[in-house]
Amino acid sequence: MARFTFWTDKSRQYIVLGCAFIISTVLLSMGSSQKLFLMKGLTITVLAPVQRGISLANQFWDVHTQNRRLKRLITELSLENQLLREAQLQNKRLRQLLDFRERKEWTSMLLTEVITMEPSREMNTITIGSGRLQQIEQYMPVVTAQGLVGRVSMPSENTSLVQLIKDRNCPVPAMIRRNRVSGILVYDNDFYLKNVLSRMDVVEGDTVISSGLGEQFPKGLLLGRVSKVYERSERQLFHKIEVEPAVDFNSLEEVFVIMKRSSEMREEER
């Protein structure tokens, strides 16, 4: 009996190994039979809590990874969204410009980008991305859908310097649209409509347009709106009229250069 016990103690490791080998081999040989699925199902049921723990840990890790991925995605989408918004605004602006071109009588207009803006007290200029190679000439009027911007002061090959009407040296012959009262729009820290006789009827809110006198700027371009009519004394000969400009000079991105009026083109054709 003692001998048998000794043999068993000595050999039990081999017995265990043999059992493990046989069971494993049987399991392997079962392949994908139904028994295998049943056993797997049974074992999975038994080990479900462990699996749940493993899956929870996996989920925790996945959430962490997913969180980082989503944060990156949000940033990317946010940037893309900003670009799309910008494109949408540009689209809107260009549509307005296109509509403006179709409405006006000037058929020969060149759409060009504003490259630089140098607004200062002394010299208010912008640089546009078209020049002599694009048939731009000096004194050609520059406009946007909102109204008159200025005139080309110095064209070079591919760019041109534009003198804004927001410049002391760029007065614009103007008139009130309502009653055709003429004056001159001048910039002197603010826009003023000058040379309007004090007996003329001017009220706040009146629309100011270019009069076409002097033939530098075409007639009918929107310049602004009368924002204030100062009270006059009896001795004053002229009104003091403040004008709010139609164009926002701080947000110029694309402008039109009026190259020829349609009437001139018709004359040339004749």
């Binding site: 039990r12 265990v16 190994l17 493990a20 080998f21 081999t25 999975i44 699996q51």
Partner: protein, 164 residues
């Protein structure tokens, strides 16, 4: 109590193997924590218990993974037995020797695993062994060396501190 400790250790190794070890993976290679635990058990308990532990842990891996049922159980039973058997003969106390034996154990395990998995395609088995088996063995042995160093007996630490 000891059995419970081993069960917890094995469960912990199985869970870590499938989850957090992704963090320390180099490419697609990560250390085999289950084999490391099996090595530790074999070192302390001998081949009888190591065979049972190897079989159970292997079976758990088989169930959890969608591989051949019994493949891990077979490989780990044999490796557990082999390691437990070695304990009586060639086991030495130096850390490097343990790490080398662990390296051999992982390689032997992977030889069995890949050859059975891809049988009769021997070339694919060899390719998998070179591509994953050897790097895994190296990584596991390296991790094992660190673990053995951290878990060395107090007497050994004291003698290291006393010696000039």
């Amino acid at each position: 109590m000891k059995v419970l400790r081993y069960i917890l250790l094995a469960a912990g190794a199985l869970i870590l193997q499938g989850t957090l070890l992704k963090l320390v993976a180099v490419g697609q290679v990560k250390p085999d924590l289950v084999l490391l635990v099996l090595f530790y058990m074999a070192l302390l308990e001998g081949s009888f218990n190591a065979t049972i532990a190897g079989f159970c842990m292997g079976l758990a891996q088989d169930v959890y993974s969608a591989e051949l049922l019994g493949l891990n159980a077979l490989c780990k039973s044999l490796i557990g037995f082999g390691l437990g058997y070695c304990k009586r003969g060639v086991f030495v106390e130096t850390l490097v020797a343990r790490a080398l034996i662990l390296f051999g154990a992982v390689v032997a395990h992977d030889i069995l695993y890949f050859f059975i998995s891809f049988w009769p395609d021997v070339s694919e088995s060899l390719w998998q062994l070179v591509r994953y088996g050897l790097p895994t063995a190296f990584y596991t042995a390296l991790l094992g060396y660190v673990v053995f160093y951290l878990m060395r007996p107090k007497e050994q630490v004291q003698s290291e501190q006393e010696s000039p």
